[in-house]
């Protein structure tokens, strides 16, 4: 079965690359440009995993993460946070709010792909 992945980031320059990368890996990719859009897309598309940027307009990644975790129906959604915020406190906050993994920009695409597979591999297909 093809996993569906939502990329939520307001920077088109990274969305292009991530979209290409993940499609190449065989995932179905959905895009959201801000926090609000991301929440709507999650509810509608039910992606297996969300690549969530922290700094987005309207709703921050932290808020989106919190909202998703508050919704029982979305409990199985994996969240991988991507952020330029590299401080320990930010990582701690992300994981505390329910992110499954946290990657600091810049990151290597190989690691990202690995991490995504790892996260999705745990879910029974």
């Amino acid at each position: 079965m093809t996993h569906k992945i939502l990329i939520a980031d307001d920077e088109p320059n990274i969305v292009i690359s991530l979209e290409y990368l993940l499609q190449r890996e065989g995932y179905a990719v959905v895009i959201a440009r801000d926090g609000q859009e991301a929440l709507e897309a999650i509810a509608r598309e039910r992606p297996a995993l969300v690549l969530l940027d922290v700094m987005m307009p309207h709703k921050s990644g932290f808020e989106v993460c919190q909202a998703v975790r508050a919704d029982e129906a979305l409990a199985h959604t994996k969240i991988l946070m991507l952020t330029a915020k590299g401080r320990e406190t930010d990582v701690a906050k992300g994981t505390a709010l329910g992110a499954n993994a946290y990657m600091t920009k810049p990151f290597s695409t190989r690691e990202l792909v690995q991490k995504v597979a790892e996260l999705l591999g745990e879910t029974p297909a």
Partner: protein, 727 residues
């Protein structure tokens, strides 16, 4: 005529009686020895001469009386007089002497008394001398402390345990002036003043918490405890406050264990950190921009580059990824350039720089260079209005060092300094003319550590320039056969805002403190039962467009002065012109001298009253004919919502209490009676000051009449005839 001592009369009477009895006794004895015929013969002889006998008795008695009186005068009267005179000497405040009189014994006694009196006067003079010396010393110390505080470039406020201010310095006054919200009316005097509460500016809870921490530290045996906190003022400034306790002297606290030492007051050092906190925040923002901003860009580039590595990429996708890389690299380049620019502007404050008037720096440089290089230095094109942010010591060092090498190696004869603004910087030029020299030679100097004469510094000219976040270069003006070093130096952002205006710091400095307030405590008696001599007063006066407040007349000026602890604080005054929002009748202008031009653009009464109310907080209001002024203030209560609950005293009424038989109780008349010099009469502040002087002289006169407390003064005022007048 002197009253005769009854004891003398008694003694004379007794003697007369004894004489008569003695005569009768002798006569009886003689009578009993006579026979019948003899008795008849003697009786016959004596009977017609009884009168003579009685006369003899009276005469004898007269002699006795005279003798007795003489004796009495000498031995009873004289000691009595001596006693009276001795009592006078005893009570005398100034040295006095007895006149030795009378018997030898009396004279000796008088001399002995005189010696005792001498001894006493000597001791008394000695003691007065010592007291005088001691109090002079104390006064001197107080003045020295006050002078020291006044010169300090940091805000210092000392208050007692209740938060009443005992001392503040010039800097604190200026700082409070900045914090004051009242547009210039009281110039911060409603916030800071002798006897005022510091809690008007600082949250009482914060101070209490600081005090608690100090007590804890004292309990742990810390020798010099202090606490610090940062707070925002109503005006939005950030204040860092350092608190140190004023402890009772070691002698007073002796016997108490550590930690039980009493704290009698607080020393507060205030720092307005608004600007530096803002700088800190901006610096943070820069750091943030450098890290997080770059991270995101780097991520974008890296991911795109990774994608470009795939060999099966079609041409369109490749172009898109290349576009991302170009875009992000460009954005990063712009960001770094921008940050670098802002960083040099913002980060210059790292090294503690001082604000310095450019002209001062140039003059100092001129003197130093002339002294070290033995060459004349002229000044040219100096912009005297420039304020620089510099580390003057190292900068002077650099200038002198360069001049020194010019003179030493190229025998330059004349040097010149120039200072001109250049955008956000100032350019300081060290100019010379003479022998040509290569750029390389001269520019190599900036990399050498500075050494000349006895001066040795590990720094290079380049270090100094970098410390200032500035630049320095060598330039030639061929046309004028001149060359110069140009220093670009940062300008001070606030151009000497806190410079003390000349003349303000010099006069009546002692009014900035009143250490007697250390002993005062507010708790306990209510205002009404406090002695008049202890209360704080706001003595005020208003000038108005006319005499009829209900008929539309309005206040055009308010002036007020403060009396704390029996002293008139001339430096803590309130003076404000008020735009009445109506015309000023021409007839009234000669009285108050205020024209419509003068009040144009001044604040309205609605803005002034809240500031005045704050100025008069926690004091008793005093005015001459107070009912009149109060009526004007009360008419504004509805509009401003500011109600004057302060007790009010009227010098007109109280003058009538003290001098009920005087015809006039006009301000001028009373001032004349009390010999108060009238200055600036009929300005609100001038009249307020006169009223204040009068009030200070009325207090002791009221005390003589048994009027000691505020309550008694108000009751006495109510009883006078004038109290029945109503406006």
């Amino acid at each position: 005529m002197k009253k005769i001592d009854p004891r003398l009369l008694l003694a004379i009477a007794a003697t007369g009686l004894v004489m008569a009895l003695w005569l009768v006794l002798m006569a009886t004895i003689v009578w009993s020895t006579l026979g019948g015929a003899e008795r008849e013969a003697v009786g016959g002889v004596l009977a017609p001469r009884m009168a003579l006998l009685a006369l003899g008795w009276v005469f004898g008695l007269g002699i006795v009386a005279v003798v007795l009186q003489q004796l009495h005068r000498r031995y009873v009267g004289a000691p009595k007089r001596l006693l009276e005179e001795t009592r006078v000497v005893l009570a005398a405040a100034t040295p006095q002497k007895l006149k030795p009189r009378g018997t030898a014994e009396m004279q000796a006694l008088a001399i002995a008394v005189n010696e005792l009196a001498d001894q006493r006067d000597g001791l008394r003079a000695d003691m007065a001398d010592q007291v005088q010396q001691a109090s002079e010393r104390v006064q001197q110390e107080k003045n020295r402390l006050a002078a020291l505080m006044a010169e300090l470039n940091q805000s210092v406020v000392v208050c007692n345990r209740d938060g009443r201010i005992l001392l503040y310095n010039q800097r604190a006054r200026q700082q409070f002036r900045q914090l004051s919200q009242g547009a210039g009316a009281a110039a911060g005097a409603e916030l800071i003043g002798i006897g005022r509460s510091i809690y008007a500016v600082l949250d009482q809870q914060l101070v209490a918490h600081a005090l608690e921490r100090i007590h804890q530290a004292l309990g742990r045996g810390v020798a010099t405890p202090s606490a610090q906190f940062v707070t925002t003022t109503p005006g939005g400034h950030l204040l860092r406050v350092q608190v140190a306790p004023v402890r009772e002297s070691a002698d007073d606290a002796a016997g108490n264990g550590p930690g039980t030492e009493a704290v009698s007051g607080l020393v507060l050092m205030l720092d307005d950190v608004t600007a530096s906190v803002q700088e800190e925040a901006e610096r943070d923002q820069l750091m943030h921009g450098l890290t997080e901003g770059s991270r995101a860009s780097l991520a974008n580039i890296q991911t795109a580059v990774d994608m470009l590595g795939y060999s099966d990429l079609d041409a369109a996708m490749r172009e898109r990824f290349l576009g991302v890389v170009r875009d992000e690299v460009g954005a990063m380049g712009r960001r770094v350039t921008d940050l670098a620019q802002r960083a040099t502007q913002r980060l210059k404050t790292r090294w503690p720089m001082e604000d310095m008037l450019g002209a001062d720096l140039v003059t100092a440089a001129q003197r130093r260079i002339a002294q070290h290089c033995d060459r004349p230095v002229t000044l040219d094109a100096i912009d005297t209005s420039l304020w620089l942010k510099v580390d003057s010591y190292t900068l002077l060092l650099a200038l002198t060092y360069l001049a020194h090498r010019l003179v030493d190696e190229f025998e330059v004869r004349f040097l010149q300094l120039r200072l001109q603004p250049a955008g956000k910087h100032a350019q300081l030029d060290l100019v010379w003319s003479g022998q040509a020299m290569s750029n390389e030679t001269v520019m190599s100097w900036e990399m050498d550590t500075m050494r000349f004469g006895n001066e040795r510094s590990p720094l290079t000219v380049r270090d100094v320039v970098e410390r200032h976040g500035g630049e320095m270069w060598f330039e030639r003006e061929r046309a004028r056969h001149q060359a110069f070093f140009r220093f670009m130096l940062p300008l001070a952002s606030v151009q000497g805002a806190l410079e003390t205006p000349l003349g303000e710091s010099g006069f009546s400095r002692p009014e900035y403190y009143d250490f007697d307030l250390f002993q005062k405590s507010d708790v306990g008696s209510a205002l009404d039962d406090r002695p008049l001599s202890e209360l704080a007063y706001t003595v005020f006066d208003t000038e108005t467009t006319g005499l009829n407040p209900a008929g539309g007349d309005a206040i055009i000026q308010i002036g007020a002065a403060r009396i704390v602890n029996g002293k008139l604080l001339r430096q803590e005054c309130f003076e404000q012109l008020v735009d009445p929002g109506r015309g000023i009748p021409a007839a009234s202008i000669p009285i108050h001298g205020i024209t419509e031009d003068m009040v144009a653009g001044k604040p309205r009464i609605g803005e002034v009253i809240p500031v005045f109310h704050a100025f008069a907080q926690d004091t008793v209001l005093v005015a001459h004919n107070a009912a009149f002024d109060m009526r004007f203030l009360q008419l504004q209560e509805k509009d401003t919502g500011v109600v004057f609950h302060q007790p009010v005293l009227d010098t007109l009424l109280l003058s009538a209490v003290v001098h009920p038989h005087q015809e006039s109780h006009r301000l001028e008349a009373i001032a004349e009676r009390f010999n108060v010099t009238v200055l600036g009469r009929h300005t609100a502040l001038g009249d307020a000051l006169v009223t204040a002087e009068i009030w200070l002289r009325l207090i002791p006169l009221l005390q003589e009449q048994g009027i000691h407390t505020l309550r008694q003064a108000r009751e006495a005022a109510q009883k006078t005839y004038y109290a029945r007048l109503k406006y």
